[in-house]
Symmetry: C2
Subunit: 235 residues, 2 copies
């Protein structure tokens, strides 16, 4: 996207690899909790649900943290990946839109345990300002800028209804937030330099529906037309 200066550390890591690093991190945490001190790329790959060649290639972008003939030290690799992702320190996060989904997000324990700290919950509806969710009180949306500056918030989560999302995003960007996780089913327009990641429940379901329909049509087609490829499907 933008040119990077390959200054010292942190060479260019492919986007596809970046998206898998958190998966490896979680798998390593699981191995660590199970008492494993060392693991091979094969072990870690199966725990992460990828094949070992891809895993080794991904890790090679970070550096040579393994030992040939032995494998990887679980704790050491875990720390290196966490450092590369940037979750060795805590990231302050604000959540805007405390409806059903906002409640769920605020109560989600996975944030806290994985390097994120919810410092504020915001909602435009005054009726929600009396609520306290997960130990944090809901404050007016107009407090956004003050909170961002006070806590140095760099990441914002949008869980509002779709019509409000663009406005919320604009205010977030104006307040200095440069990374947005958007749960509202809308395409957000943001200036360059701001990252947006979208999580869209109905889109995921529709993708499943497409494949489901294909399976149904494929079965019917195989039955109706000539013999096709069979899928082995255990009970």
């Amino acid at each position: 996207m933008t040119e990077r200066t390959p200054s010292e550390a942190s060479r260019d890591i492919p986007e596809a690899t970046v998206a898998r690093l958190p998966v490896y991190l979680r798998a390593l945490t699981g191995l660590s909790e199970a008492g494993t001190a060392t693991c091979s790329s094969e072990d870690l790959a199966t725990a992460a649900g990828v094949n070992s060649a891809k895993l080794r290639k991904d890790l090679s972008y970070l550096g040579s943290y393994g030992t040939r003939g032995v494998g990887y030290d679980v704790e050491y690799l875990r720390y290196q990946i966490a450092r590369e992702i940037g979750v060795t320190q805590d990231w302050p996060v604000v959540i805007v839109g405390i409806g059903n989904l906002g409640h769920a997000l605020a109560n989600f324990s996975g944030f806290r345990s994985r390097g994120f700290r919810v410092v504020a919950l915001l909602d435009a509806d005054p009726r929600r300002h009396q609520e306290v969710v997960a130990g944090v009180d809901v404050r007016p949306f107009s407090d956004l800028e003050a909170i961002v500056h006070e806590h140095g918030v760099a990441i914002g989560v949008i869980s509002t209804p779709a019509p409000a999302a663009q406005d919320v995003a604009d205010h977030m960007v104006a307040a200095g937030i440069r990374s947005i996780l958007n749960f509202a089913p809308t395409v957000l327009a943001v200036p360059p330099g701001v990252d947006v990641r979208k999580v869209d429940l109905s889109i995921e379901l529709q993708i499943l529906a497409y494949h489901e329909q294909r399976k149904a049509l494929g079965a019917a087609g195989v039955a109706a037309a000539s013999e096709g490829a069979l899928e082995g499907r255990p009970a």
Copy 2:
């Protein structure tokens, strides 16, 4: 993945295109509600947040539904995409795990309006069996197979804690479900022929954190080292 018989309709559509079709569908719905009868690929592309070349190529996999020199009929294209995805009919869906996230999913209106119908909410915890969420009463997890057969459920949603997810998935597969949307932060193992899509909140945040860290390091690196590439970033 598996061989398909290119029997009659529904040629092979690339996975990347399939993932974008729901976005186009939503953009078309927006245009339709705004009273637009016809749109160019440029219009639809900006509404969907992609460039027009990609949009046209994507649509070309479905067929030639546009008119050169004119554009696309919004309603017609909308129906064609909906038919291709398979959301012209309703898909019955079960949600397992009615915690915070399960509540939010059950109440999410976007499912209903986009071709999905929540036919059952299941939870292993007997204390939740008295609840009624979004007009549907929570039933024991052991009812899964009966419900799947009764309603012909093909899509299951898992919103349980991570340790329970694999067991739930196993029961879903055993009951005949072949498409799973997994919100639990775990890698699911399923037999071939079963599609799993994963939505992982903390992974998304970690990806944002990585880029955020890069931005911070990049700015510091540019300041410390020699002059690098500047990013134009409006206020």
